[in-house]
């Protein structure tokens, strides 16, 4: 009797295989896009540069959604400030890209980026040092969001700030960062942020090859993040997170430090968001304080809700589908977008609490 009873997930095996197959298939299809982009103009199968750029952007959004789902869907930590971690990662990469411009700027200064020359900087601020190295920039794209998440998380979780109160704190965090980054004297280009990037890792950015490289890097990041998240939620740590989500105080009475688990997952989630931002910036060619706008973070949470939270794959599906609708809609009725987004969130909450993935799960069960 116990033999039958032990294996806790026999019912899940076929569904798991199905999910795995779908993921591999989707990644395979996506990896074809840059190849189809190489086809000569006029070929019916040719994918435009625009499609590559937009899809690359969505892949970065999908990583952000995945990061949010890991914290929200599994540990119940609803962050409305993940856009800040994404933007910080983006700024770290942006600083590297600015340093690589070198003397090719409008003012032709050998070291200082244009905006610094314009604002009368004599030398590079100390926090810009090191950003001429790619690996340092990548490290900072993980370290800065991770450290901020650790600090905000530690202060909040230790004081048992949960639920909507924590969400409000994270919203305030991203708003405060936006105001700070808007200031010219912060040394991050103020209102205009960074743009006019020339190259990355020796490749001129404005080429098909660079676009394909960035696209594959983003795809690799998405695949790697998905594997990592799926591994984590499959361990006992993942089950403790689910337990924290459903009955936090009970977990404490079992002897687990809820603060430590929340800090772990929130920090990891911020690092993933930072990496996504770091790839996003060379793909879109610009980063400015608008990326910190509170609405961005809320929109990312809606992607996860629409796709289906606590499923990982749902977050990715949500990011792609909501952004597909956004791209389509804003091309002819941009004013309608916010209403549609809000309506979508209400509709999903009321009629599809398990998101798009829930539709599918309902059928397999």
């Amino acid at each position: 009797m116990s033999d039958l009873a032990i294996a806790p997930a026999p019912r899940g095996i076929p569904a798991r295989m199905l999910v795995r197959g779908t993921i591999i298939g989707a990644i395979g299809l996506l990896s074809l896009l840059p190849i189809l982009n190489q086809l000569p103009e006029g070929n019916v199968l040719r994918i435009s540069d625009f499609t590559i750029a937009v899809t690359g952007k969505w892949i970065c959004y999908a990583v952000l959604a995945l990061a949010i789902d890991l914290a929200w869907g599994y540990a119940g930590i609803l962050s409305l400030g993940h856009g800040a971690f994404f933007a910080l990662g983006g700024y770290a990469m942006g600083m590297h890209l600015m340093r690589l411009i070198g003397p090719r700027g409008v003012y032709g200064h050998p070291v200082l980026p244009d905006f610094m020359v314009f604002l009368g900087y004599r030398e590079l601020p100390w926090y810009w040092l090191g950003f001429d190295h790619f690996s340092y920039a990548v490290l900072m794209a993980m370290l800065v969001p991770g450290a901020l998440a650790f600090l905000v998380g530690w202060l909040s979780f230790r004081s048992r700030i949960t639920g909507v109160y924590f969400s409000i704190i994270t919203q305030a965090m991203t708003y405060a960062l936006m105001l700070a980054f808007f200031r010219n004297d912060m040394g991050f280009g103020g209102n205009n942020g960074f743009t006019d990037f020339k190259e990355l890792l020796g490749l001129p950015l404005n080429t098909q090859g660079a676009r394909a490289g960035l696209f594959y890097a983003a795809l690799a990041l998405l695949a790697g993040s998905l594997l990592l998240c799926r591994h984590i939620v499959g361990t006992k740590l993942g089950r403790v997170l689910v337990a924290v989500r459903d009955a936090e105080s009970r977990v404490r009475f079992l002897g687990y430090s809820v603060t430590a688990f929340k800090l772990f997952v929130f920090t990891l989630s911020a690092v993933l968001a930072g990496l996504a931002g770091a790839l996003y910036v060379p793909l879109v060619g610009i980063i400015n304080p608008g990326e910190f706008a509170p609405g961005n973070s809320i929109e990312a949470v809606i992607w996860v809700a629409v796709g289906g939270r606590g499923t990982l794959v749902g977050a990715i599906i949500g990011a792609f589908s909501v952004n597909a609708v956004k791209t389509w809609l804003t091309s002819f009725a941009p004013d309608l977008w916010l209403f549609v987004l809000g309506g979508l969130f209400v509709a999903v909450t009321l009629f599809l609490p398990r998101g798009l993935v829930g539709l599918f799960q309902g059928r397999t069960k």
């Binding site: 006992k236 009970r250 009475f253 430090s257």
Partner: protein, 245 residues
């Protein structure tokens, strides 16, 4: 452990001027099964909150063996060997019966250990053994959400067994149970005691009688009477404030 397992002396808890506990003293010996009764608001749950670190006492001593509990948080107290079962059964609905027990199993509790955790054969055996004991072996793979009320209570008791505590605090374990479930629960608690100390808070006097243990009566946050069920049932003070109504 020599001497009492649990030692409370002069414990008071004051919320906004209201004395939830008033100079309460209580001693529980190793291996003892103790029932705590009292009318609503007598301070039974507050007493458990103080022992498990959920509430800090305003005054008084709370010791578990050699440890001072008044300065520790819930997780540390739990890891010292104090388990608690809540009035309302709280199990993790999204996890299976097996996974619920696995989380409760005595093992390193930090995130990295949990990340690396592999279920060894001995651990699996222990979980299987507890599942047999609480009568849920056939439900191992079911999510806790679909269990009946009684089964959830047993699962929670099972989780406490996995924690292998030296002291077990049980809050109203038979509330809302059928007669048959109540009997099963009483038998389960008697089996657990003897190996460890158990404190049971209960309203149901028939159940307390079935436990056959020493009884402590609380009233207005302080000790009113202590002794066998017959002694306290015949204590005129107890009759006046509690049983007489």
């Amino acid at each position: 452990m020599t001497g009492p397992v649990l030692y409370l002396d002069g414990v008071s808890v004051i919320f906004d001027g209201f004395r939830a506990l008033n100079n309460l003293s209580l001693v529980v010996d190793a291996g003892e099964l103790r029932a705590v009764i009292g009318p609503n608001g007598a301070g039974k749950t507050t007493m458990m909150d103080v022992i498990t670190g959920k509430t800090r006492p305003t005054a008084g001593t709370v010791r578990f063996g050699d440890h001072d509990l008044t300065r520790m948080d819930e997780a540390r107290i739990a890891n010292l060997g104090i388990g608690r079962k809540f009035q309302k059964p709280t199990v993790f609905d999204a996890l299976t019966v097996f996974e619920n027990l696995e989380l409760a199993l005595k093992a390193p509790r930090d995130p990295l250990s949990c990340l690396r955790w592999q279920l060894a054969g001995t651990a699996r055996k222990r979980i299987e053994g507890v599942m047999e004991e609480i009568g849920l072996a056939a439900r191992a793979g079911d999510p806790a959400a679909i269990l009946s009320h009684g089964q959830r209570q047993w699962l929670e008791i099972g989780m406490l067994l996995m924690q292998d505590p030296d002291l077990l605090l049980v809050d109203e374990p038979v509330a809302g149970m059928t007669d048959q479930e109540t009997e099963h629960t009483a038998a389960l608690l008697r089996r657990i005691a003897g190996r460890r100390s158990v404190v049971v808070v209960e309203h149901d006097l028939e159940f307390v009688r079935a436990l056959g243990s020493k009884v402590t009566v609380l009233h207005e946050g302080t000790l009113l009477s202590e002794g066998s069920i017959d002694t306290v049932q015949n204590d005129p003070r107890v009759i006046e404030v509690y049983l007489g109504r």
